[in-house]
Amino acid sequence: MMSEIFSVAFITGLIGATLRMSTPIILATLGEIITERSGVLNLGIEGTMLFGAALGFLTTLATGNLWLGVFVAALGGIALSLLMAVLAVYLGLSQHVSGLGITLFASGLAMFIYRLVVGSPIVPPVITPFTPVAIPLLSRIPILGGSFFTQYSLTYITWALIPLVSIFLFKTRAGLRVRTIGQNPFAADTVGVNVNLTRTLSLAAGGAFFGVAGAFLTLAHQNMFLIDVIGGRGWIAIAMTIFGNWNPLMGAVGALIFGFLDAFQLRMQTLGVDLPFHIFLMIPYLITILALISVSRKATVPAGLLKPYRREDKGG
């Protein structure tokens, strides 16, 4: 068995799978980082992803157009995030309660719409999913080229988004506004930044990421919609946001490590190791918890996170 693990085929396969498996988590983590940087914890993430997964799948099922599916999933994510904005930003309700409420609501809604369109056939309908795109030349690099550069388009886009989100947050005027309202909304307000509007826009951006992350799972990773398709990846993204100290690059690294563990455990299952497969399923989550314990004590939480902002409060 050891020889199998160290074979080239195993390793290149593992790398390819790691990149695939981490794609939705990186996307969701980037979205959550933008949102939390603005001072809002969006626990609606898990439900929003499921909603995106369902909308994306159904759109593609109806039209046969995969990119239209991705687009509609993003719109669905934005819509739910705007609902979150109404509750947690404008009404100033608890972000925990609003977020969990949205996850419950969106999960139900996703199932409902799916049933409405598809009914409950014995064999669930399938679509023709995205196929990996080999990048000319690069994918020909011996040994590792193939696994790195034969990926889904969405994976390449996700990789491009990591530096783009970083640049947005740290190099643009809008990014400075987002970071400031997340740290000290009162300070932002006193220099004329519209706190609630900026938070709403940040939520919307995050929602689009969540929607697409969900759609990746039904349009690329698999070719059908199942109720447990998200499988807690939204919660993992919340953990990765903390793990990465609200930094897109570090968050992506965390997501990659999780993707690796996830891919690894799948392979261990198929190798027929004589252990219940549930043990393997647990590994990535267990290691995530351990990583969080060690990292999050040093984390620097955005100081304004979880606090609704209202003017008539005795701010100064």
Binding site: R173, G175, G315
Partner: protein, 507 residues
């Protein structure tokens, strides 16, 4: 700084401004005019409505009545953005800085400009302003590494960066050391010379006399008086604010000095940046005396009080209360000894702003009888206890059930005093107990300290206000860079010598 009668065009006029909160009228038909190149002082007790009035001028609150005129044209402000666009900037009581960002980022935030941050251009602009007004700060320094004085410079820079012509400064000196105040005043004079106008709020009447041209006094939200500084005196201003004559001098009262009640032996602690803040410090406090700890703030006073309060464990050394050693870093053990703890920052450490007055009053007694019995809390006992506190300490509040955040600064401090002093403590440790308080409240706190001493408690008064130290202390020690520079009895103390000790010079 004379205002010529000819060019008397007000840069700002507030006409009959009214601002209501749910059940208080914070400003009632207030008139205020500000002319070019003028410093106007805004005076009033805690809760008189100074901050609220300025927040209205700053567009942070919408007004409920009255008018706002800029250069004699009526305007309406819906948000601070409108005020900024009209050249008005406000520096709040609590700074509005982002601690994790740099000086430059704090200056740039909210400014119009290109999609990408142009830090190079912004830095040039900032450095130019720094040079022009003598406010030197490193643009790349992170805010949390700056001293309080430097953070305030940054607040002024932020205002100037936005091209503000009118600066509202809400108690800017409350957090400054005396030397920093002198520096601030130099800056303000430079600003006035270059055409700026300033509204200046302070509870220190001497400062108001030093820097202002004109003074407006608010009482209970109503404008009660206006004086030019040349035609008034400190006692007059004080009685205008309070609406009654203030005692000229407090009664020190008779007390006999007895046994040691608090002893610190060789205490050592570091501040949150890991630098030694208190270094081999020892003192003894006895029954019936006030021991004043003088010193410019930032010389280890905060860390000393945190050790005495049990918030921080001393790195070295011991603390004895009535001759018994108490374990370090354990607040509940300290509470059991009955020490009255009056912390430096009443909002961050002294109170829970969202909890009610009564809940804040039982913070330390809610675990013991009679309030708590068999793990259950007795509501009637709590109400009786709180009612007693409110009456004995004349706390001005809308009842015991409102959140404390609705109280004024002076009344917040009274809630703490009530909680700490009602149990007849043997030791009182008060850290900057009158910071930000008006003259009336200050007098109240001073008298409370003296009363404690008369009743036989030992009072440790840590303060950077030298007047306060001289007024109350029987004995004075001076802290400088975590060490005691010297000790002197109040009869023999002279200000020059203490001043030298405070700046680290031994004679």
């Amino acid at each position: 700084m004379e205002v010529s009668v000819l060019e008397k065009q007000a840069v700002i006029e507030m006409r009959g401004v009214t601002k209501r909160f749910v059940d208080v009228i914070a400003n009632d038909k207030v008139d205020l005019k500000l002319y070019a190149k003028e410093v106007v002082g805004l005076l009033g007790e805690n809760g008189a409505g100074k901050t609220t009035l300025m927040n209205v001028l700053f567009g942070y609150y919408n007004l409920d009545g009255g008018k706002l005129l800029i250069n004699e044209k009526e305007v309406t402000f819906n948000s601070p953005k409108d005020a900024i666009n009209n050249g008005i900037a406000m520096i709040h009581q609590h700074f509005t800085l982002v601690q994790t960002q740099t000086v430059l980022e704090n200056a740039m935030i909210g400014m119009e400009g290109s999609f990408f941050l142009d830090k190079k251009k912004a830095k040039e602009k900032l450095l130019k302003i720094e040079k022009q007004f003598g406010l030197n700060l490193n643009p790349d320094a992170l805010v949390w590494t700056l001293s309080i004085g430097e953070q305030q410079k940054l607040e002024i820079l932020k205002a100037l960066y936005r091209g503000a012509k009118i600066l509202i400064m809400d108690e800017p000196t409350a957090v400054l050391a005396p030397t920093e105040t002198v520096e601030l005043f130099e800056t303000l004079r430079t600003l006035v010379d270059s055409g700026h106008s300033i509204i200046f709020i302070s509870h220190h009447l001497q400062e108001v006399m030093d820097i202002c041209d004109r003074v407006i006094v608010l009482r209970n939200g109503i404008r009660v008086a206006e004086r030019t500084v040349a035609d008034t005196t400190i006692p007059e201003l004080a009685s205008l604010m309070v609406g009654r004559e203030l005692l000229e001098r407090l009664e020190k009262g008779e007390s006999s000095i007895g046994e040691p009640v608090l002893e610190a032996r060789n205490l050592k602690a570091r501040n949150n940046r890991g630098i030694v803040a208190v270094d081999n410090l020892s003192f003894i406090l006895r029954e019936g005396e006030v021991l004043g700890v003088a010193g410019v703030s930032g010389n280890g006073q905060t860390e000393l009080s945190e050790m005495l309060f049990g918030q921080v464990k001393p790195e070295e050394g011991e603390i004895f209360i009535s001759g018994v050693e108490v374990p370090g870093g354990n607040p509940s053990e300290i509470i059991k000894t009955g020490m009255a703890r009056i912390p430096e920052d009443r909002i961050a450490t002294g109170l829970f702003m969202d909890l009610s007055v009564k809940e804040n009053m039982i913070l330390e007694s809610h675990v013991s009888e009679p309030i708590s019995k068999n793990g259950l809390i007795n509501m009637k006992e709590i109400r009786d206890f709180a009612q007693n506190c409110i009456e004995n300490f004349s706390v001005k509040t809308d009842g015991m059930d409102v959140p404390v955040k609705t109280l004024s600064g002076g009344n917040l401090q009274k809630v703490i005093l009530a909680r700490e002093l009602v149990g007849k403590p043997k030791v009182v440790v008060a850290c900057q107990p009158t910071r930000g308080l008006d003259v009336g409240a200050m007098e109240y706190v001073h008298q409370a300290m003296l009363d404690q001493k008369t009743e036989g408690a030992g009072v440790l008064l840590i303060s950077d206000d030298l007047d306060e130290i001289f007024l109350l202390s029987d004995r004075i020690i001076v802290m400088y860079e975590g060490k005691i520079m010297g000790e002197v009895s109040s009869e023999e103390a002279d200000r020059d010598k203490i001043g030298l000790w405070m700046s680290g010079v031994t004679s």
